[in-house]
Point group: D2
Chain length 130, copies 4
């Protein structure tokens, strides 16, 4: 499983003095993009080329909140769930091993005309995994 | 159904020139807090008093992206799903009626000791709805 | 002076239970873009056409913090300060009249080649003001 | 000079495909808080104890934008400018040495009653620097 080490930044915490719920989406996205880079897929270059990786569904289970000073890992595992959809199974844990959040983020890939088009590198990953 | 009218702010858009996925969480949270205010529950005052409304699970279905200049409504409907958990069923639509996002956000309420404690106003709502 | 009415959203507050310093930049930018729309300049359409309005300097004086529940106005006044630079003089006040922040945001406009190019609507405003 | 190594996260980029102006404030704040930690001042612990480090003025000169994939350092230098005010002189540069942003962020420290109160560690730094 791909893992990215991150730390809480104080501006990410809200008035409850814990990381705001929406910020986990940022963490998850950043880890997905770093994972994609690790298999030679550059989200930004794709977007500029008119191919957009988009999220169609996200499920997030908040287990325990992160707070100022916490260090954590964001795990990413890619799964093909249909011809046109893939899922990122993601887990956030503190470096001490405490479970923070589990998520399933389902995506697809569309071109400038709004039709499905997958970058070859992504198809290759699926072939390797099959 | 409670409805809040909002508009896309340009800084909420990312390099795909659409509202970033995480920002919908902000929209949903803001609409929930405004809904709570409408039934005399002040999230900030509660947090200061040591009672924290927290999200335990969020499910989001992204139907169509918002972009610069869009005006939209965020709907909020409260549902009691167990003795300790409630759900906010939320829908984002453009003012022209285009469906943008559907979400179910499940929450609970805990006190400073981390034990379940509900503000009376919230319990009243459930009683009224039953 | 152009004025935009806004409200604090709870997710914009940080662990000090006040609006985080960086969020004022969001407020200021949003008000500038709404001001520009009011004189028929669409920031997003310009960006897509390869003309980018960019900030080169920002000065911000924080007078008093905004907090949950506050309603405020963001004022915008445009001033030409040289052949290539314009300044937005901006003021944030609560609806009760309390001064929150004063800012001067200096910008320019560049095309896809990175060379100065101003949208005609912007030049017109300057002409009218002279 | 204290230096923190950071990387652009894609969600920090806006529709111009560069890091949004407000995000630099986040970078600067995060680097200041890490710097403070390095001299044993914990912003979050202080806030919880009722002592709030606050920004009273920020000056930012945007020299060149950061974009997706960029790695950069945020430098922090602390300067005492009066009995009650201190300045953070901050510089953002890419790891290749390109100047991105220069900032001066002026702050003070106040207690729960809104009166000036400095954490001893901060006073010690100033004494050492004198």
């Amino acid at each position: 499983m791909f893992e990215l080490l991150m730390s809480v930044r104080d501006y990410e915490c809200d008035m409850q003095a814990i990381v705001n719920n929406s910020v986990y989406m940022n963490y998850l996205e950043h880890a997905r993009h770093e994972f994609l880079k690790s298999i030679n897929i550059d989200f930004a270059a794709l977007a500029q080329a008119g191919i957009n990786l988009v999220v169609v569904r996200a499920e997030m289970d908040y287990k325990s909140p992160l707070k100022s000073g916490d260090h954590f890992t964001v795990g990413v595992e890619l799964e093909k769930i249909s011809k046109l959809r893939f899922a990122f199974n993601q887990v956030i844990k503190t470096t001490e091993g405490k479970l923070i959040l589990e998520a399933k983020v389902i995506g697809t890939s569309i071109n400038a005309k709004g039709r499905p088009e997958f970058p070859p590198e992504l198809l290759n990953v699926f072939d390797l995994n099959t």
